[in-house]
């Protein structure tokens, strides 16, 4: 009962904090001229950038409240919020002065330091059909890779209004469900905070976007997902839930042959038509992204592309739940 109350409190506080902070951060960014052009609109509106700061603030306030209500779980909360803060700091650096294509994943890998230092991981991940596997030496090496992959995958999905918070909210909801199922109540409470932050931010970032999260938001949110997967021991479930995001980044990277900063890629995967619809680029060198795959079957509005992304994330999330069922019941 206490756990349910703590979860509810963390969810509510994170939601209110993110919801209240986002317009304040947006106004501050606008007044400093930190804005970005909404490229998928014919009007080319300028939208305040770096508003992902509000997500970080919301998650931090939620984590503090979580620590106050669950005093035994301070280490987990510190590891989680430490990872988010480091990734967020790298995001701020990238938003202010774009980092190189290789520097960014390397730096985001460092965001895992709090998890490693506080020792909030269990090097015995569960693999479907096999059960628990002992990886005492390899697991700590895999943690920075996991954080770099999740944060950069979410970053690469933050391409349209609402695509990042919309899809991550679905994944966070799935993780919350699986964590409750596996009785990982502490991590479930942190997952509820992420879900709350995503729902609050989605309200402002959905079509037509009034705020952009920037790399500040997407890298910190991606790192949060990776941290939750490690803390809650649901690595396989998270990989399956992230299939659309991995699909997007993997296709993108393989089609442009390696790590490239998006500003370096001259060909765009999608084209904006005069009527405001988007269509897939037919150019040979254009990156193969999830948006391009969705649009390959014909032009759509930005809102519909994001809806398709969210539906595909819902499918992968269902597969993730089914994967967990296999992990529990099929040996």
């Amino acid at each position: 009962m206490n756990s349910a109350i703590n979860l509810g409190i963390t969810f509510t506080v994170t939601f209110v904090a993110t919801f209240a902070t986002t317009p304040i951060v947006a106004n501050a960014m606008r007044s400093r001229g930190i804005t970005g052009v909404d490229v998928h609109k014919t009007s080319k509106t300028k939208v305040p950038e770096m508003c992902g700061l509000a997500i970080i603030i919301g998650l931090a306030i939620g984590a503090i409240v979580y620590c106050l209500t669950m005093t035994l779980a301070v280490r987990e909360a510190a590891a989680f919020i430490g990872t988010v803060l480091i990734a967020g700091a790298i995001g701020i650096m990238d938003d202010v002065h774009p980092l190189g294509a290789r520097t960014k994943p390397l730096l985001t890998a460092l965001a895992c330091v709090p998890i490693l230092v506080l020792g909030t991981y269990v090097p015995y991940p569960t693999i479907p059909f096999y059960g628990t596997i002992r990886l005492t030496i390899v697991y700590p090496i895999l943690i920075p890779i996991a954080i770099a992959v999740t944060s950069n995958s979410i970053n690469m999905m933050d391409v349209m209004n609402g695509s990042m918070p919309g899809t991550v909210a679905i994944i966070a909801f799935t993780m919350l469900g699986v964590l409750l199922w596996s009785s990982e109540l502490r991590t479930a409470t942190l997952a509820s905070g992420l879900l709350a932050a995503m729902l609050a931010f989605f309200y402002f970032n959905r079509f037509p976007a009034r705020v952009f999260g920037g790399d500040t938001g997407s890298l910190s949110v991606g790192a949060a997902l990776g941290a939750l997967a490690i803390l809650g021991r649901i690595e396989a479930v998270t990989v399956v839930a992230l299939i659309p995001h991995i699909m997007n980044s993997f296709y993108g990277l393989s089609s442009v042959r390696g790590l490239r900063e998006r500003r370096e890629i001259l060909q765009r995967p999608t084209e904006l038509l005069d009527d405001g619809l988007l269509r897939a680029s037919s150019r040979k060198g254009a990156p193969v992204t999830l948006a391009r795959l969705i649009l390959a079957a014909g032009p759509l509005g930005e809102k519909d592309v994001v809806r398709a992304m969210m539906m595909l994330t819902a499918v992968s999330s269902l597969l993730a739940v089914f994967t967990y069922w296999i992990m529990v019941y099929v040996k």
């Binding site: 693999i127 479907p128 059909f129 096999y130 399956v240 299939i243 659309p244 699909m247 993997f250 296709y251 393989s254 897939a280 037919s282 040979k284 193969v288 391009r292 795959l293 969705i294 390959a296 079957a297 014909g298 398709a308 539906m311 595909l312 499918v315 992968s316 597969l319 994967t323 296999i326």
Partner: protein, 83 residues
């Protein structure tokens, strides 16, 4: 809706192959053994297990990419453009 169903089918395919590979690794690859008596035998066993698993995962990634490329080129062709 049709486009979502096709892409969802790719997701299910990717997930199914991933599970299949996990099954093969956990039931077959893990059974590969050249003995555990000497350090050389242990290293050989671990190396072969790792190589076989890595090859299977690489195959999974390639199959994933192939299916996506096929979908993209067919869809673009059907809609009057070529990739």
């Amino acid at each position: 809706m049709k486009r979502i169903l096709l892409l969802a089918a790719i997701e299910v395919f990717v997930w199914f192959i991933l599970l299949l590979i996990t099954f093969v690794i956990s039931k077959e690859v893990i059974e590969i053994s050249f003995g555990i008596g000497t350090l050389l035998e242990r290293v050989a066993t671990q190396t072969v297990r790792l190589l076989v698993s890595a090859t299977l995962i690489l195959g999974w990634l390639l199959a994933w990419k192939k299916v996506a490329d096929l979908y993209l080129s067919r869809m673009l062709r059907r809609h009057g453009t070529s990739a």
